[in-house]
């Protein structure tokens, strides 16, 4: 290939005694899509911050198109670098056109706001991407996938030649990912280079030409995507072999049904859902984003109401008006987005663990602090949460450990049924396996688990039964001992998006 567009060489960075990056090299040619893979804490985000000029490196150089960049965010933007963060950093209160033009206008140091030019620029860029979005609407009214396209359009409007995307497909449905891949391919032909930061192995292989793997601040592997397969990538990222076959377990003795639904329907979300769940059983509901899986899980936990159909717990029909009634009935729910729905991020780990079971440490309306701390400490030990103590805020933990805190909170209540919505979203593949093992252990001790997920590997590793949900209906059931990934993939994607 020709002279690389971007060269980072010998990048080192330390925060105090902690060496975050050590002699990291990375290059990117025009029209290349490179994946920067690595677990949380591997130094990915620090490397991106150095590249974008937000953080100064201790050593090494960054060169874009032959020009050496210092620690200057403006210079990086001027050199044609654009970073698209996971939250897109758009302005929800402004129009699509203004969002697209804003970066360019700021970069040019404009004083006046030319609305006609804004419209024209936005129209041109959207046309170049063959995207049909009305430039006059407010961004807050758009779905996530469109916001991402606008973030790309904003980078292109400022003549970006290198686009860095952080976890670009996390919130997209399968169709939207395909569309994004198409747009990326078209822009590649125009000579735009992409750097994808990701740890989702599927998208690494479908999007990228080359891979750089970071582990503990070192480049441990780099090369063409053809040199890697999922196993090797996992091994390089974690430094060990990660098993992903079904976790072995003893068969649970047959027991009467705990949860049962009959013809459960909520118009527009899901229809005619009938399922059974026994104590000691793990059932996965495998469905894509938008399949109605989350609404179903929320209905079982009393957060949204079904229009018709029946839910029975232990043979008795129930109608939850509120999630507190579901909790009373012995159900726990771990939400999809633990950061906004599940955890009190700024509060201590201990308080997060015991907040749902305060009555166990209370007498006469007064809380027993010592008993609370004791229970929190035991839970930290049992779930192997890696923390120096129970006092630090949850925000200081890694994704996998945060998820364990949510699990610990519910386990304090010893629920009869736990509903887990995306239990390992945003969790590194190494700790993912550990969480799966924890869940199987929890299940063997008597708690039924209903796992709602779009991760086929997770459903296979974890479940006793897999139910496939497409467009609001359960379309197939599989036995994970005999099913394979390809069959499940086909079952989940037939029918496509609504």
């Amino acid at each position: 290939m020709a002279e690389p567009l971007l060269t980072m060489s010998g990048i080192s960075k330390a925060y105090g005694p902690v060496r975050v990056l050590e002699n990291v090299d990375l290059s990117l040619s025009a029209g290349e899509v490179r994946c920067l893979a690595g677990e949380n804490g591997s130094g990915k985000s620090t490397l991106i911050k150095i590249l974008s000029g937000v953080v100064a490196a201790d050593g090494g150089t960054v060169t874009i198109a032959g020009r050496r960049l210092g620690n200057d965010a403006r210079a990086a933007i001027d050199a044609g670098l654009s970073v698209i963060y996971q939250d897109f950093s758009l302005f929800p209160n402004l129009t699509v056109a203004e969002n697209i033009a804003f970066l360019r206008f700021v970069a040019q140091g404009r004083r006046w706001n030319n609305i006609a030019e804004q419209r024209r620029l936005a129209g041109d860029v959207l046309a170049r991407m063959s995207v049909d979005i009305d430039p006059r609407v407010l961004v807050e009214t758009l779905p996530v996938a469109s916001k991402q396209l606008i973030a790309i359009a904003r980078a292109l409007a400022n003549d970006a030649r290198i686009i860095v995307m952080d976890e670009p497909t996390t919130a997209l449905t399968r169709n939207e990912v395909t569309r994004l891949a198409g747009i990326v391919a078209a822009l590649k032909d125009d000579g735009v280079a992409f750097l994808f930061v990701s740890h989702k192995t599927e998208e690494v292989f479908s999007f990228c030409d080359t891979i750089t793997v970071l582990r503990d601040g070192h480049v441990v592997a780099a090369g063409a995507v053809g040199d890697f397969d999922a196993d090797r990538l996992g091994r390089e990222m974690t430094g060990r072999s990660i098993a992903h076959e079904r976790i072995a377990r003893a068969d649970a003795p047959p027991q009467p049904v705990f949860l049962e639904t009959r013809g459960l329907t909520r118009r527009g979300d899901y229809a005619d859902i009938s399922l059974e769940l026994r104590p000691g059983e793990i059932v996965s509901i495998l469905g894509l984003l938008g399949s109605g899986r989350t609404e179903l899980a929320q209905t079982l936990f009393g957060m949204v109401a079904a229009d018709s159909g029946e839910i029975r717990i232990g043979g008795e029909p129930v109608a939850f008006a509120h999630s507190s009634e579901a909790v009373e009935a012995g159900i726990g729910y771990v939400p999809e987005d633990r950061l906004t729905e599940g955890l009190f991020l700024d509060q201590p780990i201990g308080d997060n663990i015991t907040v749902a079971s305060l009555e166990q440490s209370a007498s006469g309306g007064l809380l027993d602090r010592r008993s609370l701390a004791e229970r929190a400490r035991r839970a930290v030990e049992r779930l192997r949460i890696r923390t120096p103590g129970i006092e630090p805020p949850v925000a200081t933990l890694s994704g996998g450990n945060q998820q364990r805190v949510v699990l610990a909170r519910w386990m304090e209540r010893s629920p009869a049924l736990m509903i887990l919505n995306g239990p390992t979203v945003g969790v590194d593949i190494g700790s993912k396996r550990e969480i799966h093992e924890l869940l199987v252990g929890l299940n063997r001790s008597g708690t039924a688990l209903l796992v709602v997920t779009d991760d086929i590997g997770e459903a296979l590793a974890l479940s006793d039964r897999i139910l496939v949900m497409v467009n609001g209906r359960i379309t197939a059931a599989f036995d994970p001992r005999t099913a394979d990934e390809d069959t499940l993939y086909a079952a989940v994607t037939t029918g496509g998006d609504r």
């Binding site: 209160n93 402004l94 004083r111 006046w112 118009r267 527009g268």
Partner: protein, 336 residues
């Protein structure tokens, strides 16, 4: 039906409709109410609130909140009058406004430094400076009424743009000070829409982190916002002086919440990113109408507070309720 729903789906139109209905009801009780004279009277009475509201709107659009502006206004007004009278300078009326705006902007620098440079929370800072500016005024500048107003200021106050008799024979008039409101409104409207600075204010209100990431110097923009808001508050204070023809250091402070209510009724959001000049002015007119017309209709003045409160709750609550109802309907309309 759906058109009516669309009409009441934004806070601004709820407020506007309520104001119209309100005016009709008062008009039914008091037939003299619905007249050009009333409208002019209303404009006159909302001049000060309107100017203040324009400054507050800028701050709300950036995602901040300012409660110190009344203290800035009264400080700038009283200090200007004391200064000019103390030095016994021959000062044209425009000079009074310029000095008051400069003093207001100077006080705004303190807000701006604390908020923009040190990054402190806006409510805490402006609560502090509200008390600080007012205390400093009463401690160091003076506590007495100044009623020997210079002759040219009285002449300015007596110059009217419009003057007519209402149905019961009282004179109503729109003083020349209306020009100040109109001027500030035009300048702020241009600034918010035509300059990059104004768009950056909305951008920061929409997503401060996002603004930072595309290279906007957020602290510098905020500093300028509070300086300009301070200058506008100074102009409002001076306008109040010319209308009342007396400098009272105890005036104005206490009306913060009325002004903020006016701006919120005009469609600005406490969470930032929204707000317009026309909305702020509409809000100021509605608040003033409620405060003055109930009195003229013989309703006890405590009712004003009740009406304003209900209007805020309905004006901001109804659009949210409608939005929920709509998304529920959209879900039911989707194919299962």
């Amino acid at each position: 039906m759906s058109r009516l729903v669309a009409l009441i789906a934004s806070p601004r139109s709820v407020v506007f409709l309520t104001a119209v209905v309100f005016a009709l009801v008062i008009g039914a009780l008091n037939p003299n109410f619905l007249s050009v004279a009333t409208l002019i009277d209303l404009l006159r009475n909302s001049l000060v609130t309107g100017i203040f509201a324009l400054g507050v709107m800028m701050v709300l659009a950036s995602g901040g909140i300012d409660v110190s502006f009344t203290a800035v206004g009264v400080f700038a007004m009283y200090a200007t009058v004391s200064l000019v009278l103390g030095l016994d300078l021959p000062m044209p009326v425009v000079g009074f406004f310029v000095i008051a705006a400069l003093i207001g902007a100077g006080l705004g620098i303190l807000n701006g430094l604390l908020i923009g440079v040190l990054g402190l929370p806006t409510l805490i800072v402006t609560l502090g400076t509200l008390s600080f500016f007012r205390g400093a005024l009463l401690t160091f500048v003076g506590t007495t009424y100044i009623s020997n107003v210079p002759r040219n200021v009285i002449a300015f106050a007596r110059t009217n743009i419009v003057r007519l008799e209402n149905a019961v024979g009282q004179l109503v008039s729109l003083p020349l000070a209306f020009v100040v409101l109109a001027g500030v409104a035009v300048v702020v409207a241009l600034m918010m829409n035509v300059t990059q600075f104004g768009r950056k204010i909305y951008a920061i209100g929409g997503s401060e982190e996002g603004a930072r990431r595309i290279g906007i110097d957020v602290g510098w923009v905020k500093l300028r916002i509070y300086v300009i808001a301070g200058g506008i508050a100074g102009l409002a204070g001076m306008t109040h002086f010319t209308l009342s023809r007396m400098a009272n250091p105890f005036d104005l402070v206490g009306s913060e919440l009325d002004v903020i209510a006016a701006v919120v009724l005009g469609g600005a959001r406490i969470t930032g990113g929204h707000g317009s000049v026309s909305g702020a002015l509409l809000g100021a007119l509605v608040i003033t109408m409620i405060n003055t017309s109930l009195l003229s209709a013989g309703v006890p003045s405590y009712w004003q507070k009740v009406v304003v409160g209900v209007l805020i709750l309905v004006g901001t609550g109804l659009p949210i309720a409608i939005e929920r109802f709509r998304s529920q309907r959209a879900r039911l309309a989707r194919p299962a």
